[in-house]
């Protein structure tokens, strides 16, 4: 078992003026170096979770511990240096007038010296492959490029955790792939922990672990294999299941004996090929 990096216990949170709890007794752990996908329909509480982890909101009761440090109003600035967030709307998180200014924004806030800043800004932009756009202004960039700049702004601060709060939901398919590819590479190189809040089930299928939220409660927790076994239940929750799982079911209905649990198309193709050769 890997080291526990974040742990939430019995979190209850209610937005002012609302009758229902946005989060209702939620507890789970996040382990170092994993890719955790948090899924749920709109309004299931998954984005509230992200805000709580970053200290943008505080729970009414329950505790969040990050690296053995309890998240309180006093420790929040330390915690924010360890957890970087990428939000949904690419435009509304771009603070700088140019790409490099935007990446530097977090470093400036942290009081990093100018020389180190220049190094880190260039380094971070290299990693997200946006180094050719140093002086570009945001309105000349595509959504995917803006999100990559946002990611650069986060990794320049060398955090332990990146939270993607529906960071790809406003992008076109190409931008979405660009951003996810960037995060995958980063995770590989830097042993970074990724928490992805999403309703893209194909993306979630590639995560190490999944959490399904429903009406403010933790509905299920497990590997993608476990979760996608739920099928109809997921669809009833307003979610979807990956294509390969759907096709597996359909094939079984037609009497093709493929086994369950294929989360990628490649696996299913392989299985079918083996079956075929045995015919």
């Amino acid at each position: 078992m890997r080291k526990k990096l974040v742990s939430l216990s019995n979190i209850i949170f209610k937005y002012e003026g609302q009758s229902r709890n946005a989060l209702d007794d939620v507890s789970f752990d996040i382990h170092q170096g994993e890719w955790l996908a948090i899924v749920g329909h709109n309004g299931s509480g998954k984005s509230t979770l992200a805000k709580l982890l970053n200290g943008l909101q505080f729970a009414n009761s329950g505790t969040i511990t990050i690296n053995d440090q309890r998240l309180t109003e006093e420790s929040v600035w330390d915690v924010r240096r360890k957890i970087g967030m990428v939000f949904q709307n690419p435009d509304n998180q771009f603070v700088g007038t140019t790409v490099q200014d935007d990446v530097a924004f977090g470093l400036e806030n942290a009081g990093v010296s100018q020389q180190v800043m220049v190094e880190r800004v260039h380094g971070a932009l290299n990693k997200v492959k946006m180094n050719a756009f140093l002086n570009q202004e945001p309105h000349h960039l595509s959504g995917g490029q803006k999100q990559r700049v946002a990611i650069a702004g986060v990794i320049a601060l060398q955090p332990d955790i990146i939270i993607l709060d529906e960071a790809t939901s406003m992008l076109d398919p190409r931008g979405r792939e660009e951003v996810l590819e960037t995060v995958r590479e980063l995770k590989q190189e830097n042993e970074i922990t990724v928490i992805s809040i999403t309703h893209d089930l194909e993306e979630a299928a590639k995560a190490d672990r999944m959490i399904v939220m429903n009406q403010g409660r933790l509905y299920r927790e497990g590997t993608p294999q476990d979760i996608f076994e739920l099928e109809e239940e997921l669809i009833a929750l307003g979610l979807d299941i990956p294509f390969s799982v759907k096709l597996t079911k359909e094939l079984q209905k037609n009497g093709v004996h493929v086994v369950d649990g294929h989360l990628t198309e490649e696996e299913l193709v392989k299985d079918l090929c083996e079956l075929h050769s045995m015919m």
């Binding site: 329909h41 406003m170 096709l247 359909e250 037609n254 093709v256 079918l272």
Partner: protein, 288 residues
Amino acid sequence: MRITLDDVEYRYQVNTPFEHLALHDVNISMEQGTYTAIIGHTGSGKSTLLQHLNALLKPTKGRVFIGDRTIEAGRKEKALRPIRQKVGIVFQFPEHQLFDETVEKDICFGPMNFGVSENDAKQLARKAIAQVGLSEEILVKSPFDLSGGQMRRVAIAGVLAMEPEVLVLDEPTAGLDPRGRKEIMDMFYELHKREGISTILVTHSMEDAAKYADDIIIMHQGTVFKKGTPQEIFSDPEQLLELGLDVPDTVRFQLKLQKELGVRFDHPCLNIGDLAIEIDKAMKRGNR
């Protein structure tokens, strides 16, 4: 109502250093009562094309026929309102255009601009709110007190209340969760079938195009790359993949499987049921 584009070209900011060619040599026709999908990358010209469909933009060369009207390059056009009434556009994130005090007033806004009396407009609003699957109680609420999904539906109702003959949809499901996406797409399809509204869907989603459209137009670098029925379009998936465009999941899977098995199905499978049947057949043929 039929919409035809004849040799259309469009340049932005003509005669400035920023001039750029967004559309060229576009020849397409969308027939009465059909469902057409327009597909392409960001920057392929599909948004510019969309704005020609109700004369928000005028071509810099060529002609656009909208029903019995002709919009011609270089000619001053008057009285464009009737065109806008007949061709309703649901823009991307349409909830951003809501502005009035109540949902009812907001929905009535369009029809009343086209000269419908207040009473008739209210009638239309009630009909439209039902069409988008919301209850009438919502009519008295402020549009800004609604949830994101409800706002989207109200904005769509605002376009439906104009009683357009052609409905143009620009990425109508962007930002919605899977259930919301399916509900909205099914709702438009239902309207298309039941009321015979010609529908033009501008989208990135090959799934939706394959599932709902009679015809697909693929835009690439400012011009039409390919047009045809979904079967025709997806019969050569490699060609689309080369352009960096997606193909439906079923087609992509079929392609992978065909490569690995060394067989070829006789047609592209556009839904999962069909794909399963074809795979079953191929398995039964086995290695013979």
